[in-house]
Symmetry: C2
Subunit: 411 residues, 2 copies
Amino acid sequence: MKPMGPIPPWFEAEEGMLLIEGSGVAALVDEAGDTPLFVYDMNVVRAKIALLRDAMPDGLHLHYAMKANPYAPLLAAIGPLVDGFDIASGGELEMALGSGMAAERISFAGPGKRDDELRAAIQAGVTINLESEGEAARALGIGEIVGVTPRLAVRVNPDFDLKGSGMKMGGGAKPFGVDAERASALARSVIAAGAEWRGWHIFAGSQALDAAALMETQAATVALAARLSDEVGATPPLVNIGGGFGVPYFPGDLPLDVKAIGLALEEVLTLPPDSLRGSAFALELGRYLVAEAGVYLTRVVDVKDSHGERFAIVDGGLHHQLAASGNFGTVVRRNYPVAIANKFGLEGPEQAVTVEGCLCTPLDRLADKVALPAVEPGDLIAIFLAGAYGASASPAAFLGHRPALEMLVGD
Amino acid sequence: MKPMGPIPPWFEAEEGMLLIEGSGVAALVDEAGDTPLFVYDMNVVRAKIALLRDAMPDGLHLHYAMKANPYAPLLAAIGPLVDGFDIASGGELEMALGSGMAAERISFAGPGKRDDELRAAIQAGVTINLESEGEAARALGIGEIVGVTPRLAVRVNPDFDLKGSGMKMGGGAKPFGVDAERASALARSVIAAGAEWRGWHIFAGSQALDAAALMETQAATVALAARLSDEVGATPPLVNIGGGFGVPYFPGDLPLDVKAIGLALEEVLTLPPDSLRGSAFALELGRYLVAEAGVYLTRVVDVKDSHGERFAIVDGGLHHQLAASGNFGTVVRRNYPVAIANKFGLEGPEQAVTVEGCLCTPLDRLADKVALPAVEPGDLIAIFLAGAYGASASPAAFLGHRPALEMLVGD
């Protein structure tokens, strides 16, 4: 048998049926009409946001990076709970505005913004996080053409990275933002050109579970923002210090100590450097807010043995949950937390089961030799930690299977 | 600089503009209306099929595994050139029938077929490649309910794998087919139940460039089919010996020697074992027929330098070409062949350029430090070998960007 990641501790069952917001998941599947089904629980999102609001310094803005999960009912429910949405495309701009989020609380990052995307964002009054001098020139030109003063922040490629992060987005040569040594010149030039300068966006990495590394990165980020603002000679209205808060997907992962991070950040921000007096600060989180709120439910279609190993074949797969198959940004395949949702929390013998998606490719493995109760066709498999980078980040059309259903509860 | 895979040798240019079927790609982009654009050239598909027909033994069936590329105009054009389509879902069944392919020339493999998919396939008269005893029981039951005699082949998990293949689909415990030692019993039982037994499906791996390994696997496959047929005591109408023919994606890859494979297979099939006298044989290929026919065209949105490295940011990315980013079934990221399509085949100095997709994630790297002519915004980047597992196998909705356009030429 191989280990799996930790099942979030708040999940309970009634007579062996996994509950989400008090409902048995079989009933939720009936309500949705079919499997595979993503269920997102707003209670979990609210609890994560409350935990953060409590732990972080007063006045710290909280942004939702909607790339993590752009499901429309979820956006509509999260919007009132956060201070802004961060978007990464023209499509996300439409979704963000459609959710009711005010344009002045939206900021747009992304290294390859097309002219039509810049134009739509500038016309709407969204802040553009500039990724290069070339993009700044295009944004200023488009602002003139459409007769709107563009709201521009400068995204900085910091001189440090976030240690222990799943994906490094700073340190060394990077496609994101401008190198720190050119950032203040770019800010000065957009101010001189008459744009509304919104401040800095500094994002050093993602999916880190090491609080000390995050604390160190946040302190370095604020220090960098102060130095750059000094060079500009102006106070940035907003400093987006990025995110990078991870969630425990894999065996041995422990939840992030956000209390410790909040205390350290409070210390950094209580007496900010002169050049940041009056600046607001924002934390930009996607995965951290929504990953644990999602459960992917997929039905066992077949149970078979091959050379002494047991396989449960399900009606879902990597076309909905690419990351759980280990094919998206991970080098070594490890098991997400998984359970038989209709045999949840039962005492009794377990056996090693490999959960295989329905796709006709050996890549489609959702769980490798995990310990589960005796599995039968018709059982519902739950894959936890499915609220971020699931439905929207998977190759939904691959092999012509149908897309997953999605459902929000607790809103 | 880092090496890239070989650009297919037949590509030419006119005044630096890459040509596909005699047209400059800039004109093709104008015709399609935008980038990113996949262009598929039927001339290349026809040439690959002609090469195979010439190299392989007379009478060998050639099937297209449509999972490689289900673009409707491509299916309609390939259908008349091959002996059948292999499908992997109910969605692909609809696409195959919609393309005009006759149901009796379609076979359906896939470890997680749902009851509704089995029903649709049996009613249409499609051959089901049975993946387990449980699936056989379901197929027989559905056949009775709908009053149609099911056409059933048995998919065998062989006791050997395809050496050097990118993905192993046989050898050891596998989710595909039934273990070889149980295959003849399953065939006997479906015959006894009154189904139409269509034969064997034996698929040992994919994306192999080693002709000797493929020859060895094919000989072992035919020998296994003979042994199993002996055990059944009946001649299989068709033996699908799988595929596994690879294409040269990466540095150092050489085209497969299909002539050698054809000669060896001819020797195997000229005097088939008694139990296979009268059987037809089929080769099932997806990637091999279409990968080299496709070019992905994406426009440079921005050119920027970071810490001395040059980045070309394009309007496409892994949401269309996941495999080229190294995030789908590969452990080590290597470069697909890539070029500046409007500066193709020109003499002159080159520089190291990293081609980065537009997605706001460090995973979205399409080419890492490849040697290209001086790159500018507006340039068209061509990624070759984009005809298989591109548009349909990538997370199209990720980050809210628009889907790629697709176009077939030469049909």
